[in-house]
Symmetry: C2
Subunit: 726 residues, 2 copies
């Protein structure tokens, strides 16, 4: 062991390789240390030397001080969120629409970031750094012998040697930076689960094919195009001498993957408020939910692309196929995990009478959903993706088994978690622009990125829409395509993926650029949504002239995205004939059999087997399963199905066509819109779903016919409901 | 620097001073390390040496493996909780009452603990430990130079030298042990807040004086008596040579403080189910909630008792008064913090129209309540205590300003959090009996402790009740005193305080003893509650013979302890005359003026000034405040008060006597019991609270009169409602 270059003067705590620190850790550990110190002080007893006692007291004081600072920095964030909530209320109250709550959270974050950065004088770090040299590798635990006492240290990360002495930062700035994994393991799961849980929409399933195409093909295309364009930009920067470190092709592809995760939270909120076209809503929402999952898995596949031998960063077919295999493996594995826990929850809630105890039911639901995340992580898959599919399964099956109270409880619980997590991430983004220590602002790269994401989105929306329109009965109109193009906001997922690793120069540049792209898109596109809707002639529903309070309840309700599934009420249909200039009404009419056969297959499987097994609805399995598994069928079918077999069959035939679903949602949402979630919904919704007494084929015809009619009359003029109140 | 005794063979990861590890940390950090390693691998690029790349790959693999194990161990806990929930359901379904859910959680925890301890072969720790010697003290951060690369390490804690090589433990065992601060900073706050938030009970305020006496005086007496008895036991052990390390008088007092925190969760659950006497419920619940706070502050004051100079652990008047000062300071500071944030929340919810947006309101409520904890910690007070008083303030003022939906949302949110946290703690207790590494089982100490807590409880319940009865109008009967004596269960708080510091031998012995006391009291006393109620002739309400489902809803509802404030319905009053053998009906009758003047003062202040300022109810401030602050009064009074001044005055006059409160609760709870939380409650409850049209003085008379009547008819025979259905 050498000790030559070891003892470094304690000039300040150097920044680690994953520079943002986990704030919760010291909060939790701080006291631990303090208590430990106090304990050792008391246990050493009368024999304690004065000097060591003084030391321990100093350590204790330091730990206490650190704990206090942690509390203050967490308080800062809570204050930020509180401020955001109050301002959101003011904006909603005054019907201000040009700035969404997420945009607001970012602005407040920015302001606090500026104050922390420039308002508080930079203090040198309190922690003294000592260094000692070891033989060859870093261990995760270190035992240090300090004059006879042993202290245990754990590895935090690597530090690039050049930066050890260069960083002069104040304590507060250090305290407000979180470990990036907090975003991935704590904040993203509730957001993603909520998105999946609120996906139970007939319009989502009606547009499933297109949504899958946009999410999978679209994201892949976008990633590839952005990656290649950015590689060109990087080459250009190299020529111009603007690049001070390495930037590989895989880095560019990685950037393409993380920036391809769209998050049109602002646009969707405005859609909800204005009751904009439901199909467009379903397309945008479905795409954004699924492409988050695709982007995560894609980015980790790209990281896994490591060609063998020394020619790293060159193309290698074996490594490429390995990456593709990893992508497929992780994705299908996570999907399976999510679906399996969802199915298990459905079975448990079906076969126990847990619905008599809503608290137990809610707790079970919460635990099972959380366990999906852990299960996937334990198996080496991606927890966030698994949570998404778990949410979708829970909404499709388990939700039907829950008691009425648990339905509202689970919805509200995840709604609150989602709301807090989302606003926290956005306010942290604002903060990070000033408090993050290693920004690499490169104007060329930033401009290139903006152009690339624009082109990347254009290159997947328009061609894909063209191909999809070949197969779709009701086409995706030009105005819809433009709106989708316009709605390519980037948000929480892009940020979380970018901040996850900011060790290298390339990643730092990506992070800075991502942050700016998120700011720009959320503020500009968010503010421009309402004019854009008007300009593109996209149909929006008009609010009934009800009293203001109820109005606001409606808005509030729809803002959060749970079941915003209502078609505009019939009295608004008059608007549909005002301007029947839908540009796509003359397109070709493929028969419904061709375009829908795979979904028809899935629906009938779901209706005949899955629904009866997992929920209390559907036809008895004794009628749908072959005779030889009669015993099994009898065990799995719930008694309710036999009791009221006829009405349930009808209800379920609607489920296939998701017409009954709508009625169910109607019943639900009407009540929730009144600001409550009462128990008498159950009967109303049952009645509602029994309303349509036609056979499934007839309903299908009618349904699709209605769809066509809607398409031909799309493009009504936008009527601002807010002008009435202004 | 010496390197002589440095390199220690990696025989296994030694246990640190605070032995249980924080499990969430590696879960969050694991990935960070992994990514950092991957990043440095990719950034070092083609120039990377093979050996270092291999090393980094190994580190990465190790981190990934560690992350996976973390997920598995968290999964274990979730599985435990899920199992507990399902079994609770089964028990509730079958009306099993001899075992409470918390007892069940402990049993499952025990089983898993046994499996982990004996089922999994002990593996040596994977982490290689290296040690290097420094000059004089431990720093919180360490920079280590490994062949040119710098790694950052953070301090985890001190290790007693004797234990470095002696511990052979398996990974899983290590993974399932949490940092004790998790209990204090994450799990206790929701439990305590929920207790405070559900305290809005007229019976609580009617018995406030007695509750305060039991909580403050009682806990102090109990702590002192247990401490002294245990000191005798320790002396005895020293004589018998059973004590292998130091055990001071302050340690004994500390044990007295931590074991004085009662937690009759099981008893209260059964009270709720059987609708046992509400006054007894209020006494027990109020005492247990407040004595948690007292125990925390008391224990930290005892830790702070450090006589100056070298004669530690001897009596020192200055240090003693300093401790008393610390107690008063921390307690009043925490109380103020909690009350202030509660008041701020009330003001915000009153003066904004946030109630139009229940999601925003709920989020704000949650954030403000959480900020209390952080604020108190940041100021050096006790967050848990602040959260308790915040909860009480929120329930008393803010709750009235919330929208109906937010009321049910906030209740349900904290109910779920409370449920999960409580069951987690109890299942962890079960687990800890086998997985905790440093148990010190001392039969004499354990037997002594059982005797001491029995005597300690007797010494505070009976004398205190005697003195209280001198001043109380409706006396605390002998059967009530016996029941309170019997209900001295120990639970989550005692455990959390005991596990917080297990560094010294004395503390380890205390921890083991506390664990056993919790087990014993929860299982035995929990199972014996129903027979005991019957034996002591304590009045229990009888369930109406309604259909089973609704019944269970009722039970579920009451189990969680939010507003279980219903008197038995009138048709049960016939039971009251069956056996009117209340032993205390002949006691002296002090006039109500004497016993109630301080509360009367508080109520009139609360009614005339606080309620009108903080809520929409109460008389207009313009009538109650002196004329010279008319402008201020006009600003602070909400318009609603003027609009319907007359009805609101009446409603509020009920509030003073908490009679209106009851009616409000009736309205609320009836609906919740039906499994929903509908919006039309508002009108019903308003009507309900307007029912009593008498003036406040008359109501007071009637109220207290009613109380007396109840006392005289106390002691009805127990009628088991479950016998009807069995």
């Amino acid at each position: 062991m050498e000790s030559g270059d070891a003892a470094r003067p304690g000039s300040g705590r150097a920044t680690g390789a994953p520079p943002p620190r986990l704030l919760l850790l010291p909060l939790l550990l701080g006291r631990g240390l303090q208590v430990a110190a106090a304990a050792s002080a008391s246990s050493s007893g009368a024999a304690a030397e004065d000097s060591s006692a003084m030391e321990e007291l100093a350590t204790e004081k330091e730990a206490e001080e650190s704990h206090r600072q942690d509390s203050v920095s967490l308080l800062t964030f809570i204050l930020l969120l509180t401020l955001t909530i109050l301002t959101i209320w003011l904006f909603k109250h005054r019907r201000v629409r040009f700035l969404h709550e997420t945009g607001l959270a970012m602005i407040y974050g920015l302001i606090v970031g500026v104050i922390l950065r420039y308002g508080i004088p930079a203090t040198s770090g309190r922690d003294k750094s000592l260094s000692c040299t070891q033989e060859d590798r870093a261990f995760s635990t270190l035992l240090v012998n300090v004059s006879g006492k042993f202290f245990e240290y754990t590895l935090k990360g690597e530090i690039s040697p050049g930066k050890i002495n260069s960083v002069e930062q104040n304590d507060m700035l250090r305290k407000v930076t979180f470990d990036p994994e907090v975003f991935f393991n704590i904040l993203l799961p509730p957001i993603i689960f909520h998105a999946g849980y609120s996906l139970k929409k007939r319009h989502f399933f009606r547009n499933l094919g297109s949504i899958l195409a946009y999410a999978f093909l679209g994201t892949a295309v976008s990633c590839f195009i952005i990656g290649n364009l950015m590689y060109g930009v990087v080459k250009l920067m190299k020529i111009m001498g603007q690049l001070s470190d390495k930037f590989y092709y895989t880095d560019c592809l990685f950037f393409g993957a993380i920036i391809s995760a769209t998050d049109p939270v602002t646009v969707l909120a405005i859609f909800n408020e204005l009751h904009a076209d439901v199909d467009l809503y379903a397309l945008l929402f479905g795409e954004s939910v699924l492409n988050d999952a695709v982007a995560i898995v894609l980015s980790s596949s790209i990281v896994a692309y490591q060609p063998a031998g020394l020619n790293t960063h060159a193309f290698d077919a074996a490594a490429f196929f390995k990456s593709v295999g990893i992508f497929l493996g992780i994705f299908s594995g996570s999907f399976t995990m999510g679906a399996v826990t969802g199915v298990v929850t459905a079975l448990v809630t079906k076969f126990t009478k847990l619905h008599c105890f809503p608290l137990l039911e809610t707790a079970l639901f919460f635990l099972m959903s959380w366990s999906t995340f852990l299960l996937a992580e334990a198996c080496g898959f991606t927890g966030v993706v698994a949570v998404l599919f778990c949410g979708i399964t829970q909404a499709h099956y388990t939700y039907n088994n829950l008691s009425v109270e648990s339905r509202s409880r689970t919805k509200q619980l995840f709604e609150v978690l989602h709301f807090l997590a989302e606003n926290f991430i956005f306010s942290y983004m604002g903060l990070a622009l000033f408090t993050f220590q290693k920004h690499v602002f490169s104007p060329i790269f930033i401009i290139g990125a903006f152009v690339a994401i624009f082109l990347g989105r254009a290159a997947h929306i328009y061609p894909l829409s063209f191909f999809l329109n070949l197969g779709r009965r009701h086409k995706i109109g030009w105005n819809f395509q433009h709106m989708m193009m316009f709605s390519g906001l980037r948000g929480a997922m892009a940020f979380a993926l970018a901040i996850r690793d900011t060790a290298s120069y390339a990643r730092q540049m990506m992070f800075t650029t991502t942050l700016l792209i998120v700011f720009f898109t959320v503020w500009i596109i968010g503010g421009g949504t309402t004019p854009m809707l008007s300009w593109l002639n996209i149909r929006v529903g008009v609010e009934e002239p009800s009293e203001e309070d109820q109005n606001e309840h409606h808005w509030q309700y729809f803002r959060v995205g749970v079941d915003p599934d209502q078609d505009p009420p019939p009295n608004n249909d008059s608007f549909q004939v005002l301007q029947g200039d839908g540009p796509d009404s003359a397109r070709g009419n493929r028969t419904k059999q061709e375009s829908a056969w795979i979904f028809r297959l899935w629906y009938s499987f779901d209706h005949n087997y899955l629904k009866p097994i997992l929920t209390h609805s559907g036809p008895p399995l004794t009628t749908t399963l072959p005779a030889w598994c009669g015993l099994l069928a009898r065990c799995l079918t719930s008694p309710q199905v036999y009791d009221n077999q006829e009405p349930l069959r009808e209800e379920d035939s609607d489920f296939i066509l998701t017409e009954g679903d709508l009625t169910l949602t109607y019943g639900d949402s009407t009540v929730t819109a009144n600001g409550s979630s009462s128990s008498h919904t159950a009967s109303t919704s049952l009645e509602g779903s029994r309303r349509t007494k036609s056979s499934s084929e007839e309903v299908l015809e009618r349904d699709l016919g209605m769809g066509d009619q809607k398409v031909s009359s799309r493009g009504t003029r936008l009527v601002f409901p807010l002008e009435d109140n202004a």
